[in-house]
């Protein structure tokens, strides 16, 4: 290697690029990623929305840190919002009011931050639903599913720590509830609360502590997990929907440069634009209406931010007493009575815990039940996995019942029904709703699969009414083309696998359990149409059905 042979660029840009390239080896990166193929589908955008709203959160949040004072020092408000002038409040609340009223564009940035946060958790959730319902979590992506789940939890943590920072009446009551939940934890609860608040509630320490968590720890963890998440996406290559030409061994889509980069990059600006529009027009978290935190007042119809709703709703659904029986158990010990606060512990921990436990474990549960340890890069259409879609729907209903319960008072006032009745109904739905959702969703999936079979075997309805020589009317059916047919017939068809003996010929109890679940999941199934079935159907119908064959018109 001699310098005389070294490449020199002829243009200024070329020389600059060459300088960088020879220092960092950018050519390798461009070679690897420049034309990397990404499959395209509208449902893949939810993850992008989550990423982009997170970027917006970092941008707007950084702006807010320059003005926000995370201190609970008691001061008198002297800013320009007249109704609160002269009122005592914490410096945190006063500086939030200053951002809103005395920093130009500060209100807008607060709104962008809050709306982005709401959208961030929403898009994370919907993205996870997409991944679940299409089976994208299957091998080799199980760990990325878990990383995604932790990201969702961190999203909730980021949201809650930020929500509490202004130290207004609404968020203060939220902290009060957190204090109550902490104190319910057996043995350690009281101390946990004392350490968290630096003494008794509310104290003067909790806002700065939440601030550290909110602007450093939680975002750092999110960024770390985000990098791991995206790194794994690149390692695995993106999944794709099934279809002609799309197999488990290939990726069909658009190259990063220019098409995918343009679409994804452009989409960032679209998300930004939409958030900016919402933030300009729709008011969110008007803390000046709530006033500073005071343990005595509370406004009726208090609502947490939407993503905390399901836990708050669970708290509301739980009965504290049933007749004379109280869910606060006083357990006699030699040193005196201790209280086990089940009325708070059960709803605060069990439903959310169960939801996340099943969610995290689901890839392994499914692998165990189906005995399917293959790599899956082709997604399932939700209807083609009725058991999973039904489980997902049950989970969604379970979540939504709790979520609705968080607004039980608003439901009661809006629809003029008794608050108690709303709660009773939601208690019933809490148990019955997921079961009904499971059953109903599975029936719908199976029906849709039958519809697919019908279309393949007998053609699609052409919308043309024919009159037969005998005078009878019938709708003309056109056979679907080979591409559509391939989509409708090529899917992963899970079947009931009876209990298998192990090497010693013994059927373990665990295996019997697996077989039971397998039977429950896969006993009812609709198999894809096979070529021989199609032949038989065609033979039975005669040839008049096939005249609409589209094949040659497409291939011309």
């Amino acid at each position: 290697m001699t310098t005389t042979n070294e490449y020199t660029a002829s243009t200024k840009t070329g020389r600059l690029a060459n300088f960088v390239d020879t220092r960092v080896g950018a050519s390798t990166i461009v070679k690897e990623f420049g034309r990397k193929v990404f499959p395209d589908h509208w449902s893949f955008m939810f993850g992008e929305v989550a990423l982009y709203t997170f970027v917006l959160l970092l941008l707007s949040g950084t702006f807010l840190t320059f003005f926000f004072d995370p201190s609970m020092t008691h001061i008198t408000y002297e800013g320009s919002y007249v109704p609160l002038k002269g009122i005592g409040m914490s410096a945190a609340m006063a500086s939030t009011l200053d951002i809103s009223f005395d920093v130009r564009g500060g209100m807008f940035m607060r709104q962008v931050h809050h709306w982005s946060a709401l959208l961030f958790v929403a898009s994370l959730s919907v993205h996870m639903l997409r991944v679940f319902f299409t089976g994208a979590f299957r091998r080799p992506r199980e760990l990325n599913w878990v990383v995604g789940g932790v990201l969702l939890i961190m999203g909730l943590a980021a949201g809650f720590t930020g929500y509490s920072l202004p130290d207004d009446l609404l968020s203060g009551n939220g902290l009060r509830i957190i204090d109550g939940v902490m104190k319910a934890l057996p043995v350690v609860g009281t101390y946990l609360s004392m350490f968290f608040f630096g003494g008794e509630f509310p104290g003067v320490h909790v806002i700065p502590r939440l601030y550290s968590l909110h602007i450093m720890i939680v975002p750092a963890v999110i960024i770390l997990l985000l990098v791991v998440h995206l790194f794994m996406v690149v390692t695995h290559k993106h999944t794709q929907y099934p279809g002609p030409g799309r197999t488990n061994d290939n990726v069909v889509g658009f190259p990063v440069g220019p098409v995918y980069a343009a679409k994804a990059g452009g989409f960032f600006f679209i998300v930004f634009g939409i958030v900016a529009f919402i933030s300009g027009i729709f008011q969110i978290n008007p803390i000046w209406n709530y006033g500073p935190y005071d343990p005595s007042p509370v406004s009726a119809g208090t609502q947490p931010d939407w993503y905390i709703g399901f836990v708050d709703g669970a708290l509301r659904l739980m009965p504290g007493v049933l007749g004379d029986f109280s869910f606060v158990w006083n357990i006699p010990f030699p040193w005196g009575d201790n209280s086990l606060v089940l009325s708070v512990l059960l709803p605060a921990l069990v439903p959310a815990g169960a939801l996340f436990a099943v969610m995290f474990a689901w890839p392994w549960i499914e692998r165990w039940v189906t005995k399917d340890n293959r790599e899956h890069h082709l997604l399932d259409r939700p209807r083609n996995a009725p058991f999973r879609t039904a489980m997902g729907a049950a989970g969604v209903v379970f979540y939504c019942v709790m979520w609705a319960a968080a607004s039980s008072d608003l439901i009661a006032t809006h629809f003029h029904v008794a608050l108690n009745d709303v709660t009773y109904w939601l208690r019933v739905l809490f148990f019955v709703g997921p079961l009904v959702a499971f059953w109903l969703t599975r029936r719908i999936c199976l029906s849709l699969q039958r519809k697919d079979r019908e279309i393949v075997l007998h053609g699609r309805e052409a919308g043309i009414i024919q009159m037969s020589p005998e005078g009878g009317f019938s709708e003309k059916h056109e056979e679907v083309d080979v591409y559509k047919r391939y989509v409708l017939t090529n899917f992963n068809d899970n079947q009931y696998i009876p209990a298998q003996p192990d090497a010693a010929g013994h059927i373990s109890r665990k295996e019997k359990r697996r077989a039971k679940i397998s039977k429950f999941f896969f006993e009812d199934r609709v198999a894809p149409v096979t070529p021989s079935e199609l032949e038989a159907a065609k033979a039975a119908h005669g040839h008049h059905e096939v005249e609409g064959e589209k094949q040659d018109s497409i291939e011309k």
Binding site: H236, P255, I274, V341
Partner: protein, 350 residues
């Protein structure tokens, strides 16, 4: 990188897999043929799309300029009315929205109409090849061997011990998150005490003016704080425990349990305002049903039955503050609460 090919039935870069056919499946017809878009065939359509994209970018420029107008012309420091602020906020939002949507929609429109829409096919690779695995195993073995960690258990075991112990101080450092210097017992004990004590006057929240028994009519309700609260050292901490609701009921309608007969003054009763569920203030009193309702989680307490829980998630009744009147006719506390106020906790007991 995989071999790219433009999808067509003849050459889609994919082949139907043998086992699919063996399972009586339809063969993979390969990628559908590419359908040209308008702009691919008609140069005038392409030109039109080009102009549309440029227009969208121009809209973005106008949006950014509009932002400056909103910032400098509509907004000014100090004494902005709320209405002005709203207009400015909306204008900033719209300016930013146009600035961003112009760019975003423009780029996406450009990508969809003018950039090639041929889908490419790339093959997937094994995530881990067997050869790589063996190489990795060899490397790890070499590392273990060269470090000698297996051959020298003394080093290994002491290192494990050291590493296991080293982080524990970091956990203990957090002890002073609570630095009142109280012992564990004192920390728990303070939850049992409030500012209320013998002879402390009941005063209005937030003004702090005392209340005469004669001021309290049947059906009325007062939000009450102990006298001197506003001058206390930790106002909010004390208030979070000491707030009380004062109501008057017809004594005939009240069920009074043994030992509490003299806790009310002619049907005037005082109960802790802090919900026994998770601590929200119970702000709603419905005099018709004499129920108290917590707006956070709808725990409902029956005033006629010593605030026992009649609905909702609270697990026990609201603590009652024993009251009486002093020589001047003002309501005063007989003592502190006889049980801890607020949410139940492990050490609360009966």
């Amino acid at each position: 990188m995989g071999d790219h090919s433009h999808g067509s039935p003849e050459n889609s870069g994919t082949v139907a897999k043998a086992d699919d056919v063996a399972q009586d499946r339809f063969p993979d017809p390969g990628l559908p043929p590419h359908r040209p878009r308008l702009a691919d065939r008609d140069p005038r359509a392409a030109k039109r799309h080009e102009r549309q994209v440029a227009l969208l970018f121009t809209i973005s420029i106008i949006g950014t300029l509009f932002f400056f107008v909103a910032y400098f012309v509509l907004g000014h420091l100090g004494d902005m009315t709320f209405a002005e602020l709203r207009v400015q906020n909306a204008a900033l939002g719209l300016g930013t929205a146009f600035a961003m949507l112009g760019i975003g929609v423009g780029i996406v429109h450009w990508a969809k109409t003018l950039m090639p829409d041929h889908e490419l096919v790339e093959s997937r690779h094994e995530i881990r090849t067997e050869a790589d695995r063996q190489d990795a195993v060899d490397i790890v073995d070499t590392i273990i061997d060269e470090s000698g960690i297996k051959r020298r258990p003394l080093i290994r075991n002491t290192l494990i011990g050291a590493i296991a112990l080293a982080p524990i101080p970091a956990i203990f450092m957090f002890r002073d998150l609570e630095r009142s210097g109280k012992t564990a017992g004192e920390m728990v004990e303070q939850l049992r005490h409030t500012m209320w004590d013998t002879g402390v006057r009941l005063t209005r929240d937030p003004s702090g003016t005392p209340i005469k028994a004669s001021d309290v009519q049947i059906g009325s309700a007062f939000h009450v704080i102990p006298e001197g609260l506003n001058e206390a050292e930790d106002v909010l901490n004390e208030k979070a425990k000491a707030v009380v609701l004062l109501m008057r009921m017809d004594p005939q309608e009240m069920n009074i349990s043994e030992g509490r007969e003299d806790w009310n003054v002619d049907g005037i009763v005082a109960y802790s305002k802090i919900c026994t569920h998770v601590g929200c203030p119970i702000a709603l009193y419905e005099q018709h049903t004499h129920h108290l309702l917590c707006p956070c989680h709808q725990s409902t307490f029956d005033l006629a039955n010593e605030c026992k829980v009649v609905f909702g998630p609270a697990g026990h009744a609201l603590p009652q503050l024993p009251i009486t009147v002093d020589a001047e006719g003002y309501l005063v506390a007989q003592s502190d609460f006889h049980e801890p106020v607020g949410p139940a906790y492990w050490e609360r007991g009966q």
